[in-house]
Amino acid sequence: GGDDGGGGDADSDEPIKIGIIADLSGATGDVGTPYNQGMLAYVKWRNADGGIEGRQIDADSNDYAYEVPQAESLYKQYVNDGVVAIQGWGTGDTEALSASVGKDELPFMSGSFAEPLTDPEEAPYNFVVAPTYSDQMRVALNWINEDSGGTGEVAVFHNDSPFGQAPVQDGADWVEEKGYDLGYESYAMPGGSQNYVGLLSQAQSQGAKYIVIQNVASPAALVAKDIAAQNLDMKIVCLNWCANELFIDSAGADAAEGHILIQPFAPMSAEKPGHDPIKEFLEEEGTDPETIGTSWVQGWYAMHAMAEGMEATLADGNELTGANIREALETMGPIDTGEVIGGGPLEFSADSHRGTTATGIYQAQGGAMVELEAGATP
């Protein structure tokens, strides 16, 4: 039993139960760990701040090691524990659970920004808190179109999985739709490679000057290293999961220099108003804000979006159930993120769970992420 546990009456003061499915030790543990820390930090901060309408958040976070079966098992545990919402992580678990969360009426946010998840018809309880991979790809193509002066060749290197493929077709469609004079080819990046010179040579024979990468940081960094070693005249445009400090650090400041990072969540170095609470919190905790990476900020604001939805539900005097949270998220209007996400607010509606289409564009300069443009939209 236990399907209501954390919900209860509008004016109960029981803690609000949230389940977190985190990757702390699996394939994406390098970004999954700070993301999870960011979420938990937010919870701590918010609770210290009086919680949500006076109620504390009780976030139960568990590692699923990036293994879908473990995610499913955790999910069932959370459902049984009576959580009212779930924070997921990867594409695999998000997809695997999207039908279940729909049936169980549990709002679900995650680090997977695939386009189909924004469609309430397809995934009624999934909310995407950032521009989708496809939107990021569109922004990237816009930028490339401009940077190249209207013609050029683009090679898309993507993780060889649905996560990697997610924006590939949409990108091609975008080029066509916009009538860009850009060549567009996509290449799968095999896992576990020790160099991408083979891929680069294919890109080279295509004549590509731009490499859009939809993958995590380590392989993207390897591409940067290889480009540097080969003295190739190519510019990398990283989307989301490789658009972070890890990419720059792993590649080394030299190899990363000049590459473009499409990152919807402003890193600490961008100094947005939304970073203030984070800094405050960190100073209290005695942590140096400089050491905080983008993924951490992503976690913080993903949790923020969820908390705001809950707050709106309670503020409306509604019982805190999944369905009510969903409705609140859809109807509450913009959620302020202090310009951290896409340089503006998030907003969901009943027809679209696409929080925003805007993203920041950064460039690696001197080993840091330097903002080129905030709130770029397709």
């Binding site: 990046m189 991408y196 083979g198 940081a217 380590s218 070693a229």
Partner: protein, 290 residues
């Protein structure tokens, strides 16, 4: 043409490192009959040990290498002593499972100490490139090939010439009979594991240098399987042939076909080769006489 040479160099470099990683695997199998699923984690541990010595403890390069070798030897011997020795004589599948458990354990321990973020390590091998027939080949790849070649040759000679080589094979064939020859099975086992750990350390350090010191190094271990099977589970020269073949296959598939297939093609090649040569290219045929 220049592109081809470039790919060749990269493929050979990856292949040499693969061969080194496979060498440890083969040594263990040859002497003890154990299939070590934790070979990738040995690479991982090796890379992190070196990182600890070189970056965290700030030892000079030589000192760091020495430290790494010593620690790797100790780990190899400990693993043999504590985990594999009690399993002597058990079903090979159970032993495989133990090494799988070991791999989980080692990986988790590395994670507990070093976290999941990749570590920055200053370049050990020069990053500059040399021009060759119009191709620019990074020096670190070339040096990786050279180092691997030296180590592999040393090992091959060791096994050809030294009586330990024969002793190892004898132990692999029949432990009891080896004992009656005065061969200390324990010593041979410990030696095999220690040597395997050391060769894994070298491979791990090279890998860490050309890509990054992170958890992905362990994943490289999975590629060891097609290598050793191709060359023959118990053949030292086989690791070289297998390593280079797989390295090149991988590289050329990525460069001239579909990079996504690069992970699969070695396996397809492997199955095809096995159908022609069921014990790999140099593997010892299992003797079944009645």
């Amino acid at each position: 043409m220049s592109n081809f040479i470039n790919q060749l160099a990269y493929g050979l470099a990856d292949g040499s490192i693969l061969a080194l990683a496979a060498l440890g695997f083969v040594l263990i199998y040859k002497a003890t009959g154990v299939i070590n699923f934790a070979q990738g984690e040995f690479l991982l541990v090796g890379a992190y040990m070196f990182y600890t010595a070189y970056v965290v403890m700030g030892l000079p390069l030589i000192g760091a290498v020495f430290f790494g070798v010593v620690v790797a030897t100790i780990i190899g011997v400990l693993v043999e002593r504590l985990i594999l020795r009690p399993m002597v004589g058990e079903n090979p599948i159970s032993i495989i499972m133990v090494t799988i458990g070991l791999s989980m354990f080692l990986k988790a321990v590395v994670q507990a100490f070093y976290g999941t973020t990749p570590k920055n390590q200053p370049a050990i091998l020069p990053r500059s490139s040399v021009e060759f027939l119009g191709a620019s080949i990074p020096l670190n790849r070339l040096l990786a090939i050279v180092i691997a070649a030296v180590v592999l040759t040393a090992f091959t000679i060791f096994f050809r010439k030294s009586r330990h080589g024969i002793a190892m094979r004898a132990v692999a064939d029949d432990q009891q009979a080896a004992m009656t020859m005065g061969i200390s099975v324990r010593r041979i086992f410990a030696m095999a594991w220690a040597l395997a750990a050391v060769s894994a350390l070298i491979a791990g350090v090279l890998l860490g240098d050309i890509s990054a010191v992170d958890q992905n190094i362990a994943a490289f271990g999975l590629m060891v399987f097609p290598v050793v099977i191709l060359g023959g589970l118990d053949s030292v020269p086989g690791t070289i042939v297998g390593g280079l073949t797989i390295g090149l296959l991988h590289q050329f598939t990525a460069a001239y076909w579909d990079a996504g297939l690069a992970g699969v093609v070695p396996y397809i090649a492997l199955v095809l080769i096995l159908l022609v040569r069921p014990y790999g290219i140099f593997g010892e045929t299992r003797i079944e006489r009645v």
